[in-house]
């Protein structure tokens, strides 16, 4: 075993893990916020996330076709794309809640979950339908901005590209904004109140339906931002590429304690790091017997183990059981 190699790649793996972790954290927020107010797994969140990526790529391609992609300063382009992705995903999340979840709010618990699975599948093929009619292709590539691919060599073995920095900075900004909204504003107080006790919140004059819509909007927008960052970072997207990251992000949310916003961030980072290390080291340590593909098994086994042994997660409060 080449110990020097193992140590040598360590910083790079750490960096990759952090990037992945922030991505998961952003997506996990959507799951956790909705679970906080409704105690319901929004299974369609993985598609809400990937819709953000598609809105982003459409805006970029649109800018490119009118020649603005190169002429606008690149931070402006990125902010535009990010805002568009957030708006698209946020509005979609609100619509989905209105159409497919709200009528089922008082139904037995499995009914809205099954409806959410249905929405998830429906959205995957809707994206495919739209893109294949509009572009005659549903595997889309993010247009590259030259500046994003610049790399800084920090040490001999560690370099970081501008787009990785964009992802990290973007994710941190989002998380900070969310923190402000939830903890420092009236709306945030209302969201926390509804999560605590819907009936009492409505007695205090809070419009519960509006707050639930708002929760979906914010969670969806976070997912949309994650979608755009995902596209910028990895380049290639297709209508089905949201599913696995979505499931991983859900794992992250559960890992941190579902319903708990800081928990989602912690869970995302932990899972991202675990996966990055598994992907790079597993095959090195086992002499190629177990490859990077086993990182998926690692994530799902982790999910299963947490749900069984510590369902409240790392930072979670006690989860109430409801039949």
């Amino acid at each position: 075993m080449d110990v020097e190699l193992l140590i040598g790649i360590f910083p790079q793996v750490l960096l990759d893990g952090i990037i992945l972790g922030f991505m998961y954290a952003l997506i996990a927020l959507g799951y956790t916020m909705v679970y906080g107010v409704l105690e319901f797994i929004n299974f369609a969140h993985s598609e809400i996330f990937i819709v953000g990526a598609f809105v982003g790529v459409e805006v970029m391609l649109g800018l490119k076709s009118v020649g603005l992609l190169e002429s606008l300063p690149w931070p402006v382009v990125l902010i535009l794309v990010l805002l568009a992705g957030m708006a698209g995903s946020g509005l979609l999340a609100v619509t989905v809640e209105r159409v497919a979840y709200r009528p089922l709010r008082n139904a037995p618990r499995l009914i809205p979950l099954i409806s959410a699975i249905g929405i998830s599948f429906f959205l995957q093929d809707m994206i495919r339908l739209f893109e294949s009619l509009w572009r005659n292709a549903f595997n889309l590539v993010y247009p590259t901005l030259d500046v994003l691919n610049l790399r800084f060599e920090l040490t001999e073995t560690l370099d970081v590209s501008v787009k990785s920095l964009v992802v990290i900075v973007g994710a941190l900004l989002m998380l900070w904004a969310l923190h402000l909204i939830v903890n420092r504003t009236k709306v945030g107080t209302a969201i926390r109140a509804v999560a605590e006790d819907q009936a009492a919140a409505s007695l205090m004059g809070i419009d519960v339906n509006r707050i639930i819509s708002l929760t979906f909007l914010i969670g969806g927008a976070m997912g949309g931002a994650a979608g755009v960052l995902f596209g910028v970072q990895y380049g290639l997207i297709n209508p089905y590429s949201g599913f696995i990251p979505g499931l991983k992000a859900f794992t992250a949310a559960v890992l941190g304690g579902i319903g708990n916003i800081p928990g989602a961030m912690v869970g995302g980072l932990v899972l991202g790091l675990l996966e990055a290390f598994a992907a790079s080291y597993l095959s090195l340590l086992t002499g190629g017997a177990f490859g990077a593909e086993y990182k998926d098994i690692l994530a799902f086994s982790l999910l299963i183990l947490i749900l069984i042994f510590r369902p409240k997660g790392l930072l979670g409060e006690v989860v109430r059981e409801r039949a």
Partner: protein, 396 residues
């Protein structure tokens, strides 16, 4: 009397129509619809069952003789009916939402595929594939292996309820798929994404062609599964399952052994999938992990939900409708569109030839499943043919 005449007429007429237009999907759908009519019609029992038997045992193979694709569809329907009935036990009766059900199907399929093909020589040395008659033994082995897998999954998740259980089973299904995809090293068990082929088939009795053979075998298994299901439903086990579904706490207070009953539900549901997995691998001759994705799990779930959770006729109808929708309606529409395209037809001044090439209607299975799930949940959560007990509950 009128209904009796109508039943006989419909079955005979639609069968004749299929013989006259062997390529028309619509006519074949009419044939299937006539069976449903016979099942629901107010006619004497002996007439009902002899009509159904005649249609399934005689007419269907004859249709298959003229157009083997229909026999293929019918066999697929049979496979999915058994899967839907198995999932129906877990989800419908016991109320345990299993999102990784196809894993058991995969376990059954791989159990025969590995030893029924030369592939096993890599693992165990020489002597494989096993002779064709081992297939029948492996129908039982597949059942046992899948049931054991069901218990192994059930044991750790006993404490979980509702949506957490659903997610864990989903994770389990994904783990099985990833394993099937990657267990080609260090020891090559599954040959990874390339899959296993050729898988041996049993010798057929009376020189039956394989199309007919697998159709009859699937039908036989489906009948066995239906009988087992019916017996279970009204037994103390079935009642215990339903008690658990309705209120776990109350069921336990009434002395229902939760652990045993839940494990039994997982094992029973899994065993049906295991048997069909063995049949599937022999029928296909080739299997790879692509056949055992989350999409298939949700497809089977959509069948159960469409028909009505906990309802046996519901699961059968649901499986038939969804399979036919996927295999025939979507594909038929796709072919028809292509013909129109090639003929240069224009609709409202828009030439169909300009349709993007990536627009392939046959590929929209997920949309079908999704629409079924959402619409059923919102408008008719009890399904098309609600379970009798549930119907009584909802009827007040």
């Amino acid at each position: 009397m009128i209904q009796a005449l109508l039943s006989v007429g419909l079955v005979a007429g639609s069968a004749l129509a299929v013989a006259t237009f062997p390529r028309s999907v619509l006519v074949f759908l009419l044939f299937q619809g006539s069976l449903l009519f016979v099942y629901r019609a107010r006619i004497p029992e002996w007439l009902r069952w002899s009509l159904l038997a005649a249609a399934l045992l005689v007419l269907m193979p004859v249709i298959g003789y003229f157009n083997s694709y229909y026999l293929e569809v019918a066999t697929q329907v049979g496979i999915f009916v058994a899967l839907a009935l198995g999932l129906n036990i877990v989800v419908g009766l016991a109320g345990l939402l299993d999102l990784g059900y196809v894993a058991f199907f995969a376990v059954g399929a791989y159990s025969w595929a590995i030893v029924g093909s030369p592939h096993a020589n890599i693992i165990f040395g020489g002597g494989f594939p096993l002779a064709g008659w081992w297939f029948y033994v492996f129908l039982l082995v597949g059942l046992a292996v899948a049931a054991t897998t069901g218990i192994l999954l059930g044991l750790p998740v006993l404490r979980l309820h509702g949506d957490y259980l659903a997610i864990v089973t989903l994770g389990f299904g994904e783990v099985i798929r990833v394993l099937a995809n990657n267990l080609d090293k260090p020891i090559n068990f599954t040959n990874g994404p390339k899959g296993i082929t050729p898988i041996s088939r049993p010798p057929t009795p009376f020189g039956l062609p394989y199309g007919e053979y697998f159709y009859f075998l699937a039908l036989l298994i489906v009948v066995a599964v239906v009988i087992v299901n019916r017996r279970l439903e009204d037994s103390h086990i079935g009642r215990a399952w339903e008690a658990i579904r309705e209120d776990e706490l109350a069921a336990r207070a009434m002395g229902v052994p939760l652990v045993r009953m839940k494990l039994m539900a997982f094992a029973c549901g899994a065993s049906f999938a295991g048997v069909m997995g063995v049949l599937f691998s022999a029928k296909q001759v080739f299997i790879n992990p692509e056949s055992f994705t989350f999409l298939e799990s949700i497809g089977v779930l959509a069948m159960v939900i469409l028909g009505g959770m906990g309802s046996i006729p519901g699961a059968i109808v649901g499986a038939t409708v969804v399979t036919v929708l996927n295999l025939q309606v979507l594909k038929g529409f796709s072919l028809w569109l292509n013909e129109l395209k090639n003929a240069g037809v224009t609709v409202l001044g828009y030439s169909l030839a300009d349709l993007p090439t990536q627009f392939e209607p046959a590929k929209y299975e997920r949309m079908v499943f999704g629409v079924i799930l959402v619409l059923m949940m919102i408008f008719r959560p009890q399904g098309i043919f609600p379970a009798r007990r549930r119907q009584r509950e909802l009827g007040g």
